[in-house]
Amino acid sequence: MYLNIVFLPLLGSIAAGLFGRFLGSQGAAVLTTTCVGLSLCLSGLAFYEVGLGSSPSYVHLLTWMESDFFHANWSLCFDSLTVVMLVVVTFISSLVHLYSTEYMGEDPHLPRFMSYLSLFTFFMLLLVTADNFLQMFVGWEGVGLCSYLLINFWFARLQANKAAIKAMLVNRVGDFGLALGIFAIFLSFDAVDYASVFAMAPLLSGSQICFLGMDFDALECISLLLFVGAVGKSAQVGLHTWLPDAMEGPTPVSALIHAATMVTAGVFLLARCSPLLEYAPKACFLICILGAMTAFFAATTGLVQNDLKRVIAYSTCSQLGYMVFACGLSNYSVAVFHLANHAFFKALLFLGAGSVIHAMGDEQDMRKMGGLRRLLPFTYAMMLVGSLSLMGMPFLTGFYSKDLILEVAYGSYTTGAHFAYALGTLAAFCTAFYSFRLIYLSFLSEANGRRPLLLGASESSWPISTALGILAIPSIFIGYLGKDLFIGLGTPFWGNAFFALPGHLSLVDAEFMPTAMKILPVCLSIVGAILAFVLYRDFPQTLVRWKLSPWGRKLYTFLNRKWFFDKFYNEGISQNFLDFGYHFTYKAIDRGFIEMLGPFGLSNLSLAQGARVVSWQTGMLYHYAFVIVAGMLAFAFLSTMGFSAKLLALLTLASLALL
């Protein structure tokens, strides 16, 4: 059963990918959906056994590599954290599969699409069930690869190609950090499996590792390197630029990447490595700060984006920021709770957006929508549920985790935590604002779309509606239902999955914070939502005037152009690297150094010398006679000096130089 959870999606993927032409579009779709669905059922059983029954289990498959101290297995480890991820991943993935059968139904390459989706799911499951860092890295790279294939699914589109390459390369920066982190782990621990590493972490607290003659604190260093990996995968500020561009793929792909898989891997890594992070307070501080900055940055950028999917992409980025700073504050269970909740409502939002886009004939610009609440009432309701949940309206799913994250931030008595609280609260306001802006512009405002499109717009058929309907249920209830299980005080659910030093826990402190501070994020959210609604309904002219005023224009451009991160990266970094590649490594080293001094240069040199020696053959008899006599004298001289090969070689070289 435990094996089937992981390998059923792989089976579906292989069947759809290799035999898709025999199965046909519908066959491949049904097969892969069934496989992932079965995997979901088994994950539910695993959740019951491992999570609720408190019996973590471990499946050893085979030994992968063994060399001296180095020992890596292929084995699956199921503990509470893993089964939570399993349920989330397979649940969202099944619904995305179901949704895709309809959404991508017209596409001639549906089997390929379903195959990639299943492969993606398989790699994500491999990632979360790994019992050592190496196997986790396989999954890690696998989801990166599948994201490339999926973003690039319509490979004839230039934008999709560029976005996919960008996603792959930016992720690779983080993966490099992660690989270095794994090396550092092996260097310090002589092991790569979780059990050994986490058991030894306290012993290595404060020890040093030496790199390039400099000493670093081992655990701080490892934590930071692992965090670099998480930054790339979870699109934290610095390496976030790939995420909005990844919207070029089909909408179900965005849902899968942004809701349940891929981006959550970074948070999962941080949660999984909690025993390491706990002994690295400086790294934790940095994680907290960077997460808070991501939350704020992405939320402000989301305010003025006009692309429906891009707004949701930035909200993903922002919500991941919340999770990351919760990890930085040592509240791993809260972070994972938010991760699970976020997966449900973000999948709902993305799939809802896909439904809208489907109905509007692939129009993604919110300014050209509007008035869809009468045309797509069901989608409207679903999007509203998702948005309300996202902005943390009381008693919806998002409320229970998001507000708790802000509370524990306020409850931790450190500078970083209060910084995170301030930025997180502001981000909550922005989140509400852009969520309602999205709702208003696409559903409530006057219809701005093209007439034939609006006349033809209709609710999507049953697979899409079913997926949305099913997702809406956990988006509303899972927070309330899971609250006590996941983050209740002293809950036994997590067992040994997380480790937090007693001093770092701020759940209890959070209970005693001032009520005003507790309800501030919710109040700000409500204010933000109402403000967006009122501003866009009653004062659109004022908004335009603000936008066109000198300062307003600057601010709008700044936010709309994503704080100029892309501009800075393109012009400050990428262009310099490309120039370096062309001018230095290609022109100076390849063309210059190797061709002038290397084999090419050597052959040129000998050819030139040969030509000069040839010019000695003048045809004059006395020249020949002179050379004969001179050579004879030289040999006579040599033989009187004692004939040695070294001397001869020296003489030959000297004569060559003279020539």
């Binding site: 003048t618 045809g619 008899l621 006395y622 006679a625 006599v629």
Partner: protein
């Protein structure tokens, strides 16, 4: 010390011949004569050594050398004659058709 003086004489003759070959740039007959001089120097050297070492072999060699020198100069003169018939001149610095 007579022996040393004889040897110096033959060496001087030999290098005179060589010098004639190297330094002479025009006249091919002088070239041939220089070769004769160096061969004569060699022959004389053989004779001197034969007397000095009291060994008849040197004189035998000298006879052979004389024969070879005679053959060589006759063939050389024949080549020069043939060359003269073709070119009408025998100046050595004009015989440089085989340049590289």
């Amino acid at each position: 010390m007579e022996f040393l003086q004889f040897c110096l004489l033959t060496t001087a003759m030999f290098f005179l011949g060589i010098g004639g070959i190297v330094l002479n740039r025009t006249n091919i007959l002088i070239l041939l004569m220089s070769i004769e001089v160096s061969l004569l120097a060699l022959g004389l050297n053989f004779l001197i050594l034969s007397v000095y070492l009291d060994d008849i072999l040197g004189q035998v060699f000298c006879l052979f050398i004389l024969t070879v020198a005679g053959c060589e100069s006759s063939i050389g003169l024949a080549i020069i004659l043939a060359y003269y018939r073709v070119r009408g001149r025998i100046r050595m610095n004009e015989a440089s058709l085989m340049k590289a």
